[in-house]
Structures are given as structure tokens and as C-alpha cells.
């Protein structure tokens, strides 16, 4: 139930409450954006029709490298 899916904001409706989110592979759906501050091009995490957070692209890109670094440097004493 806490499942949430990332998608890209491609359009914001004039009422500012809803946006069209593109989940890739041709799937686009309307999501409520009143819980976040977003602009077109942002990636959001959508749960039960509501965007609950804007995703951090930089962190996402660097996650694997960061984990590798943590594994190699942090020897547990």
C-alpha cells in the first residue's frame, strides 16, 4: 500500500493541483501535486494518486558509487 512509483512531470494544469506524470513506456496519468512543489521536468514519487516527494536526481545517479565507496572504505572496527 505504501507502494510509490517514480515518474516525470510533463504538464501542470492551470489550477496547480494536478499534473500529468509520465511513467515511461507511454503511460501517462494525472496526479495531485498539492503535497509538493514541482516544476515541469521534475521527477516525482506518486502514491495513490498523489505526488509525495520530488526525487533527487543527483543522489539517484550517485547512489551505486556511494554504496561502493562505503563498502570499500568503511572497515568495521
Amino acid at each position: 500500500m505504501c507502494l510509490a512509483i517514480p515518474g516525470k512531470v510533463v504538464e501542470i494544469e492551470s489550477n496547480k493541483y494536478h499534473a500529468i506524470v509520465d511513467y515511461g513506456e507511454g503511460t501517462k496519468r494525472k496526479a495531485n501535486i498539492s503535497l509538493v512543489d514541482v516544476k515541469i521536468g521534475d521527477y516525482v514519487l506518486v502514491h495513490a494518486g498523489f505526488a509525495i516527494e520530488v526525487l533527487n536526481k543527483k543522489e539517484a545517479r550517485e547512489t551505486i558509487a556511494l554504496f561502493r565507496e562505503m563498502l570499500s572504505f568503511e572497515e568495521v572496527k
Partner: protein
């Protein structure tokens, strides 16, 4: 971009954990974590490294009580249109589920989200439309945002929203399990951030890691816990930084605080847990189904309700047993003929175990 793929990293984490020669018991509280764990066989991999991991009360549908369900059945019987998420509709109260009522011709509707329920209310102005709002902090902000958007007057919410930190405290206070670490749910944490968990590490000396939902996230989460144990540290660490901000989603927190106040709440398998539920504030009580239909619902208040016979969901939700300990698992109880909520909900550990053992 947001999924983690790396062929060898998982294996590297496992060997790293193995080297520590540890024996530890971890709990997580999220159906999506359990799905990842069972789907990818992480439970048996981790067991080989000395780590056992179980799902606690992390399934909102499962922890909803028979009384809450009976109340919804009564409102449907009295002519309201009752709406909720698919899994919730199929959980039996004392004997019947909302789905059974629907088959009998009552107006029960499955919705994907609360906005669908509001739409139904606009389309049926002469009827009461009740949304059974289940879910943790991930889901509750949508309910709050809907309430402040001023939905039609024939719309109301039966609020079954629960919050995680005090349920974790309850597990630790009950003390049936000696836990060495907690994996916190990534999407609950997306909303609440790190702070609400801090008292747990401080008061109970337990390491915590907020983790994402890919196999690498869960393994990394376990390794971070192991590391804290080995270093004698106890704090809340964030593995899921690509999504969870330290302070959480402040905008969502503000809306939550505007609409809800904490309340004591019973969870299935638990006694009443202090401050573990959300109650709609008086200011918005015209949207609170428990106020709107108070007279109708009050007869149920003191009714003794039976849990399904032989079902171990209560013990499962406290992390004491596994689905395989239940004699009904896969026999009398299957997803097509569920006995308890943990087999109904796709987030319930019985359902998850059954689905993947089929394959």
C-alpha cells in the same frame, strides 16, 4: 534512473556482512520491503550471514481491526456508498467483507485513491459517500489534502490512518522479541523524515536504517545496521537518500498537522497503542464519518468481535511467527479463500509468501 542496477554489488554487501560473523534479529515494517525480501530470496541469503528478518505490523490493511471493518459494513447496509482500496474491501470483519456486501448488491466501490471517491460523491449528490481511509503516513497526507480542498458535503472519511513510530515503540515495550535493529519504511519516511524515529534509538538503544525497496537497498540497510551494532552506535541512518530528505516532506507534514491530531488506536494483534492513530480535528468534523454517523455506529462500540479462528495474523504482525507456522497457510487459507488479512493484502506476509512459493 531511480532503480539500482549493479550485478555484483548485492553479492559484495552479502560477503561484507558475512565477514562480521554476527547473529542478529532485525524487523522491518513494510509490505513492499517484505515483497523485495521474499521475491529475491534475501531472507535465506541473510540467514546464512546470521541475520533473521521479519515483517512487523507493516501492512495497513492487516492492522485495521475487525471493528473498523464492521462499522463500514453497517454504513453500507444503511445505504451509504462505501469506498476503499481493493485489498481493504476483501478483508472480512467478523464474518463478512465489504466485497461480500457488494456481491449482495450493496454499493461498495474499489478506488485507486481518495480523489476517485470524491468524484463518486460529486456524481451521487443524494447519497452519502464514505471513504475508508487506511494507510500510514505515506497515505494520510492525501486524505488531509482532500479534506482541505473542501469536498462535497455528502463525502466523509472513516479515518483508519495509523502512524509508525509509536507502533514500533509498542513492539519494543511489549518485549516479546529481542530486536537488534529496525529497517524503517522508505515511503513513510519520505513524509516524516528522520526525527520521529530518533527517540527509539535513544530510549531503546536500537540502530535504525531508513531503506529503499530494491534488493540492494535492503541489503545495504542490513549492512548499515550491522555496522552500527559492531561499532556500538545507535542512531537513525538514511540509506534512501535519493528519495528521503532528512526533514521529510514539510509541506505534507503541515497539511497533516492542520487536519489531524494524534489519537490512541487499536491495531490488530496489539492492544490500544498510545498516539498511534490520526483523528480528524474538530474543525473538519463535517468530513469525519465517525462523527457524522455517530448514532448509527455507537451500537457496535462495545460489541465483542471474534478474530478468524486459527488465524495467526496477530502473532505475525508482532513478528513472532512466520506464515509457515500457521497450520492454515496454503491449506484452508489461500489468496482465493483468505482466512485472515495477511493473506488478503498484497502487503501481508502470508500473501507474499504464498505468491512467491507458487513460482
Amino acid at each position: 534512473m531511480f532503480s539500482l542496477s549493479d550485478k555484483t554489488l548485492g553479492q559484495d554487501i552479502i560477503s561484507k556482512i558475512k565477514k562480521e560473523k554476527i547473529k542478529a534479529k532485525f524487523m522491518h515494517v513494510c509490505g513492499t520491503h517484505q515483497d523485495t525480501i521474499v521475491k529475491h530470496g534475501l531472507d535465506s541469503l541473510l540467514k546464512k550471514c546470521g541475520i533473521s528478518i521479519s515483517q512487523g505490523p507493516g501492512c495497513p490493511v492487516c492492522v485495521t481491526t475487525p471493528l473498523e471493518i464492521e462499522k463500514m459494513l453497517l454504513l453500507a447496509r444503511n445505504g451509504a456508498i462505501v469506498t476503499s482500496f481493493g485489498d481493504m474491501i476483501n478483508v472480512p470483519g467478523e464474518y463478512k467483507s465489504l466485497g461480500d456486501m457488494k456481491a449482495e448488491g450493496y454499493d461498495v466501490r474499489t478506488v485507486y485513491g481518495i480523489e476517485d471517491a470524491v468524484k463518486i460523491a460529486y456524481e451521487n449528490p443524494s447519497k452519502d459517500v464514505v471513504f475508508m481511509g487506511v494507510g500510514f503516513e505515506t497515505t494520510a497526507p492525501a486524505t488531509a489534502a482532500t479534506i482541505i480542498s473542501n469536498p462535497p458535503k455528502n463525502f466523509s472519511i472513516f479515518c483508519c490512518h495509523r502512524t509508525m513510530p509509536y507502533a514500533l515503540k509498542a513492539i519494543l515495550d511489549i518485549g516479546e522479541l529481542k530486536l537488534d535493529g529496525l529497517i524503517e519504511p522508505g515511503h513513510v519516511s519520505t513524509i516524516i523524515g528522520i526525527k520521529p524515529y530518533e527517540f527509539i534509538s535513544k530510549d531503546y538503544g536500537i540502530p535504525q536504517v531508513i531503506a529503499g525497496f530494491e534488493p540492494i537497498d535492503v541489503l545495504m540497510g542490513c549492512w548499515m545496521l550491522v555496522k552500527q551494532i559492531k561499532q556500538g552506535k545507535t542512531f537513525v541512518e538514511n540509506e534512501y537518500k535519493r528519495v528521503v530528505h532528512q526533514e521529510g516532506n514539510i509541506k505534507a507534514q503541515k497539511i497533516l498537522n492542520e487536519v489531524f491530531e494524534p489519537c490512541d488506536m487499536k491495531w490488530r494483534g496489539f492492544p490500544v497503542i498510545a498516539k498511534s492513530g490520526l483523528k480528524i480535528k474538530k474543525k473538519f468534523e463535517c468530513f469525519d464519518a465517525s462523527v457524522k454517523f455517530e448514532d448509527t455506529l455507537k451500537d457496535l462500540e462495545n460489541k465483542e468481535l471474534h478474530e478468524p479462528e486459527g488465524c495467526l495474523c496477530g502473532e505475525l504482525l508482532r513478528g513472532l511467527v512466520s506464515p509457515f507456522d500457521c497450520p492454515l497457510f496454503g491449506q484452508a487459507c489461500k489468496p482465493e479463500t483468505p482466512v485472515g488479512p495477511c493473506m488478503v493484502s498484497v502487503e501481508g506476509s502470508c500473501n507474499i509468501e504464498y505468491r512467491y512459493s507458487e513460482k
